[in-house]
Symmetry: D2
Subunit: 371 residues, 4 copies
Amino acid sequence: MEKELSSIHYDKYLQLHKILDAQKLRSVEFGKPAHDEMLFIILHQVYELWFKEIIHDLSSVMDLFNVDLVEEQNIGIAISRLDRIAKIQKILVDQIEIIETITPLDFLDFRNYLLPASGFQSFQFRQLEVSLGLKRDNRISYTQCAYSGVFSQKEQDILNKLEEGDSMFDLVEKWLERIPFLNFDSAIGSGQSFDFVSEYKKSVEKMLRMEGKAIDDANYISESEKHLRLKMLGETNTYFGSIFDEKKHLKKIEEGEMKLSYKATMSALLINLYRDEPILRQPYMFLQKLIDIDDLLTSWRNRHAQMVLRTLGKKIGTGGSSGYDYLKTTADQHRIFYDLHNISTLLIPRSELPELPFELKEKLNFNFAQK
Amino acid sequence: MEKELSSIHYDKYLQLHKILDAQKLRSVEFGKPAHDEMLFIILHQVYELWFKEIIHDLSSVMDLFNVDLVEEQNIGIAISRLDRIAKIQKILVDQIEIIETITPLDFLDFRNYLLPASGFQSFQFRQLEVSLGLKRDNRISYTQCAYSGVFSQKEQDILNKLEEGDSMFDLVEKWLERIPFLNFDSAIGSGQSFDFVSEYKKSVEKMLRMEGKAIDDANYISESEKHLRLKMLGETNTYFGSIFDEKKHLKKIEEGEMKLSYKATMSALLINLYRDEPILRQPYMFLQKLIDIDDLLTSWRNRHAQMVLRTLGKKIGTGGSSGYDYLKTTADQHRIFYDLHNISTLLIPRSELPELPFELKEKLNFNFAQK
Amino acid sequence: MEKELSSIHYDKYLQLHKILDAQKLRSVEFGKPAHDEMLFIILHQVYELWFKEIIHDLSSVMDLFNVDLVEEQNIGIAISRLDRIAKIQKILVDQIEIIETITPLDFLDFRNYLLPASGFQSFQFRQLEVSLGLKRDNRISYTQCAYSGVFSQKEQDILNKLEEGDSMFDLVEKWLERIPFLNFDSAIGSGQSFDFVSEYKKSVEKMLRMEGKAIDDANYISESEKHLRLKMLGETNTYFGSIFDEKKHLKKIEEGEMKLSYKATMSALLINLYRDEPILRQPYMFLQKLIDIDDLLTSWRNRHAQMVLRTLGKKIGTGGSSGYDYLKTTADQHRIFYDLHNISTLLIPRSELPELPFELKEKLNFNFAQK
Amino acid sequence: MEKELSSIHYDKYLQLHKILDAQKLRSVEFGKPAHDEMLFIILHQVYELWFKEIIHDLSSVMDLFNVDLVEEQNIGIAISRLDRIAKIQKILVDQIEIIETITPLDFLDFRNYLLPASGFQSFQFRQLEVSLGLKRDNRISYTQCAYSGVFSQKEQDILNKLEEGDSMFDLVEKWLERIPFLNFDSAIGSGQSFDFVSEYKKSVEKMLRMEGKAIDDANYISESEKHLRLKMLGETNTYFGSIFDEKKHLKKIEEGEMKLSYKATMSALLINLYRDEPILRQPYMFLQKLIDIDDLLTSWRNRHAQMVLRTLGKKIGTGGSSGYDYLKTTADQHRIFYDLHNISTLLIPRSELPELPFELKEKLNFNFAQK
């Protein structure tokens, strides 16, 4: 039987008796009230609330992708939720300005009471990192112990299980690998064949040849500039060469230089190049949102590092870490979707793009066609 | 005996067992889980946490000003705390973007379960409005009942007591009235006298006379423009006239057009005009911060109104109010420090400013003088 | 023959010799240099540059829609460009903080030299308003003269021509009217018929009946609350009633209460309700972006008004207008896409939505179907 | 004779005939119009306009400080102008979101036409860096050539001259060195002596002793944690030790680890610790604003680097530089006021602060004292 509807008051709905009763100042407890400790507590609680929401949204997207076939509608929903995460992250970065109103001198009034509590002990933040795809082995360590050592056994179990399962990164990789457009022929069983990688390769080679000739012919640039440009072109050539060679790709993965599989990379490239085709529009936006989230996480780490430098200088953080250096390094090293960022390196101008056969274009459009 | 220091863990310090256990979705309870209800709850909880911090800061500033003589240092502290409030308010406005990610259609999935809960039932927000100086009689009503009718008796008592006591507005007014610089002679007992209002009046009259002549003489403007400008000047004249006349000022207060007393207004004007004198620098910044806070509250109401329009259209809000119209009207009518904004109308260019006698300037400087 | 490529330097490419040589301070010219006049000039130049970009993007979107059949791909492009406009608008609002660093007293140092120059004389801003769809008759007047009176004849001609042609509003209305899904049968010539308006009407009636019963049955609410809710329900009923009646809609348009035609309104409603169908996803996002732009323009006007109040108080603006009141009124009255906002009023929960026949759903999906 | 006032129109005042006529698209010139090139041009022009304003404000502050004795009032003015710069920088960071609306693929449509134009050729940006205090030797090089090689001889001369003169950093250092409060006795010729460094040293030593004892006595922490904390304390001890030793400070400067002189560092420390004294309030805020500006420049470089990564991937930038790596490195290495940030490391809690003798406190207050 359905539960009967009932009235509810704002306070009770939001459980404000819990929320607003959770600020117990240690400085008060120890007899030396520090006005700014209230902000310190509230700001961290706000962060934890937002982390809860981000995890709520991210998990739901992972559920939508944790299937053999992602429904068309669900890509739209995934985009909306990732967009929400990005908007929350924007606020997370901006509100660092608020915590900076606690000046270093004011912070010293209560800093000693907090030891060794530290943002390093935020379980939800670790949950978020792991869910996105940060692997234990890629973590920058800032103490000798495992990052999960500060958590309860139950929490460690949750993290372990998360690490074992598919992360957002893994799910995206699998989804990209499944996308059937790398070889249209096999995909749609039409007579007309179109092998993306080989067509793309031809275009790249032609483009590079033309560029080389253009530089050679250019009499408006000096010899030294000509030399520089040809050198750059050579590097580009080498770079593209490594792309067409699956073995080289595999080697890069082994060496930790890349993470995304060859097939997934090719699919991501195809989506970026042919994003204007109706069926690829949403997948393209989905990939963009992943990059947004990665970028905003990097921004947050950078901004966080600056705040720590400003408040603590070179001092050791409340968790026994030299916060600034740690945070600065994670900003670079803890990226998840770096390979998606780097797709840009592989793009070629639309004018050089292999044209899709008409029949294939049709397949990428809607059933309903306006006349 | 002093309490002995002890270790504390992040989770316990922030009481995350309360904070993260306070999201109970009504849509889940009623058997129709709506993904977005989580955000709806968390966002409101975040708002309430920030309200708590704002009240914490505002109350502390009110305490600093609730004395016969505000210590010099405390003006600096007050500025810092008001600045923090303003920074928080900026985030309150910006994060409306986040709630707008709940689309109207998604909101309908759980809206019915919330009735009649409504932001109108936020006790802390009322506390904040009353503390700033919003009077019961100046409130826009949006139902027939008193705004406090939705609160418990205990909460109503707190609001009543707050309304009886001095608000931030009252404390600022009293502080301005006490400032001893309107008549320097009586203030510092020096032989040299300087009556601000009469000197200022002379300057204004001279300035207006000159402007009139300039317009008359200007042969680069058309007759119709000349006419328009002289008309504007006449209005300015009338306006300034009403300033110098304490009775007219009183009348405006009675008619609800102004709120700030004559003496306080004159002091605020003096602070604005001579803000570069060292002793007036901080008071000037303090007044600016009050305006910032007022402006940001207005921005928040405007933005909030737009969000309601977008989500609900003309529909009645969850609290039985037509939210959009109510919020839009309060944005204009619930300003507290409008008279401080309006000081701008009274300013005259520095070049026209009565010069302070040297001895007085000295008095407004520091004891320690570099040679 | 194709033009030969050539080298170019940053300075020359950006024509910095023009851009950075266009700040001539009147206060310097008149012998009383005012430091802040530089900011005043530069800030307005920055606004004009952004206006140029907004017009560039908006015009291109209008071109894409100024055809009998909008290509699928072009909706995606339109969304990107409107999104860019929205991002620029966000900056336009935020950077008002910069101009507020010119304090009222500092502004007086050079204000007199500017007369009667005024933002009211910005041709590009008028161009933008007209392009969006602001009609001459709906303009709030702030002087007795026509808004275009301050422009050269050539500029007036451009505005007149723009007013005569189709605005963005007109193009959107026509596009919505053309959308073939209000009656699927006629649209796709299938045997299965689905008339949106009548199906939707049935759902609404059923929903309202159920809601009435639920209130009647609710024994957890007081009689007075029951009464209030039933009254609200009655109003909703009346409101929906007016929707289903095309004549009433026409009357509202005549009375200036609405602008969007009946058919276009129904299409916009359909798009909002069935936005999860692949073919409607992009149209839905397109409509959202129009609302974003409208909202941000309102935010800008509101924020602008506050800035004027703060800087000038009740003083007359540099253009002879009482800027604050004018701007505040336009924020409400110069909205273009108010009717799109108001679609929210018509939405019903997904659970009450008439289900689309399977064959129709197919038609709204892609040709290519994964197995 | 004074120049006679005259009317002026908005367009003419802003020289819009120059500003709006400076967008010449290369892609149009070469016959392949690319819609997004307009944004690319306008955005860079907007940046250059803001750079002009920042330089205008910064130079004026440098002028105020380029004297033997900085007037009290001018510190207030300097704060306002630095605050304005910070507000502009905030927008410079935020508007990177706008340029990111040019997707990598769209950028390729016109990228080839721009070679070798590059932000590296922005003269104003170099001017700004040099004015703040970036030395030629501390620059990260990104080509083999001198950073100034891309400029005209005239521009190089200006940069050279700027480099030879006092930068903002130099002026601040000299001002800090002149501040007379390190030794109050000599400063004010009073009988009461107060030597800041020695008093501060005593407090630090006492504090560290107490902290050591507290850790020893703490039976709520494990032995390993005790060990860790004592080790941290030892490092702090060493660090402070190096502070009290002017020779060690000099050595750090020689090794490039620090830049600010010993005396200036001590003054900055004093200002931070006793910032609540009226006469030190403004100097404190001034130092804060310098840190703000440094931080925002770092934020801008970080954000800029991310944008380049996203748009170009690992590709070489339009200026022949590998933009991403270069920008990321400058974010860390081109800081100017790092030593001011790092003052935080030296702060001790207010409760441990040596108390100022009453007579000295008086000297730091205003002449005018309320009774």
